[in-house]
Symmetry: C2
Subunit: 200 residues, 2 copies
DNA sequence: AACGCGAAACGTAACGTTCAGTTTTGACAG
DNA sequence: CTGTCAAAACTGAACGTTACGTTTCGCGTT
């Protein structure tokens, strides 16, 4: 037994992810099968299943490699308002690009009926981004650059509408929309601590 | 003309939708198959496929029958702010109920990889609701009850975060969250017509 | 000689369709 | 109003297909 055996990636990880990405571009997410990925990447199906339990898991890694790092992180130029605008514009660009759109919509769709995948997706994408952004938002609020409100809610007000358009309404997410959205959210008046006006 | 039968509609529509709903509650959306629905409803598979092209189409009708009418429409008591609060709370309740959650998440997930289904979903749910709400929002803005901004954006700011939590982040959608959300969005200052501050 | 991997083959599950044989329906004659 | 009948629609079983996920085999590397 030569020590730990399972903790290295497959030899041809890149070939596999590239194959999956290409197939998705050519035929759309739904039409891609594990068999096709294996064939295209010239690997055996057992090898594929050895490291990824499902099609969704493969595409999660595709998205992590190709989209998340470069395109989804909040930039940091010192000007928070400007950074937020750039960030949301980045989502608009991402959601407009047909290939990225295919990848994200397919992956999120799969995650809706695959608990395992949904968990990993949140831990690997959601969690890290949110944690980092949260600190930035709080700091900017303290500096008076952003409206004083629950930082989680502020982030959600910015990021939810693009996702809603992508996954629910299907409306396009343009840069103009991104700008309009940021303007609106940053125009919120400071909130009273938590006192919701009595409903009745 | 006695109209040949009740035009359209299988004889046992209700039995089929009930079977689908029950199976979803018992086993989860993903585990439900067309075969199982047919068996449970004591209907032949051909009959099922005669009226619904896919599992997603069946569940769309389940959702239309059981959720949309009673639970997703914006109420109208004359007090728009209060109506909006009630409306978003309704979504919170819906997204918290395990069965409704299963149905909605499964259906939306399927729609991500089924263009046909996505189109019908938008036409039958999205479109009608949005159109009605839009008029109400504009009227309330004219009356000074709501912040002056693009009515579509205002609606999206309210409705997106719950959907985002349901489909993307997985965070719970409580009534408290709904109230907090409405408070924040209604605190937006009137927007300058469209003048986005120059980015550079 | 042993190992790891690609390729092929296998059993399973669900799909969506086809094919009898039966039940339901509405129309019409008595 | 009622009995009869043909057409339509339905059930249930079976079929071919596809993709899944696993197992087996053989080859090349070490």
């Amino acid at each position: 037994m030569t020590a730990t055996r399972t903790d290295r990636g497959p030899r041809s990880r890149d070939a596999i992810l590239q194959a999956a990405s290409d197939l998705c571009r050519e035929q759309g997410y739904a039409a891609v099968t594990m068999e096709a990925i294996a064939t295209r990447a010239r690997v055996g199906k057992p090898t594929l299943y050895r490291w990824w339990p499902s099609k969704g898991a493969v595409f999660l890694d595709v998205v992590l490699d190709k989209l998340v790092e470069p395109a989804i992180e909040l930039p940091d130029t010192g000007d928070m308002v400007r950074d937020l605008r750039t960030w949301i514009r980045g989502f608009a660009d991402l959601f407009t690009d047909p290939h990225a759109r295919q990848l994200l919509v397919g992956l999120l769709g799969a995650a809706q009926t695959d608990t395992e995948l949904a968990t990993v997706l949140r831990e690997k994408v959601q969690r890290p981004l949110q944690a980092g952004n949260r600190q930035r938002i709080i700091a900017a609020q303290d500096a008076g650059e952003l409206p004083a409100m629950d930082p989680t809610l502020l982030e959600e007000l910015l990021i939810s509408p693009p996702w809603y358009r992508l996954l629910v309404s299907g409306e396009p997410v343009t840069r103009e929309y991104a700008d309009q959205l940021v303007d609106a959210v940053l125009s919120v008046r400071p909130q009273r601590p938590t006192a919701a006006p009595p409903q009745k």
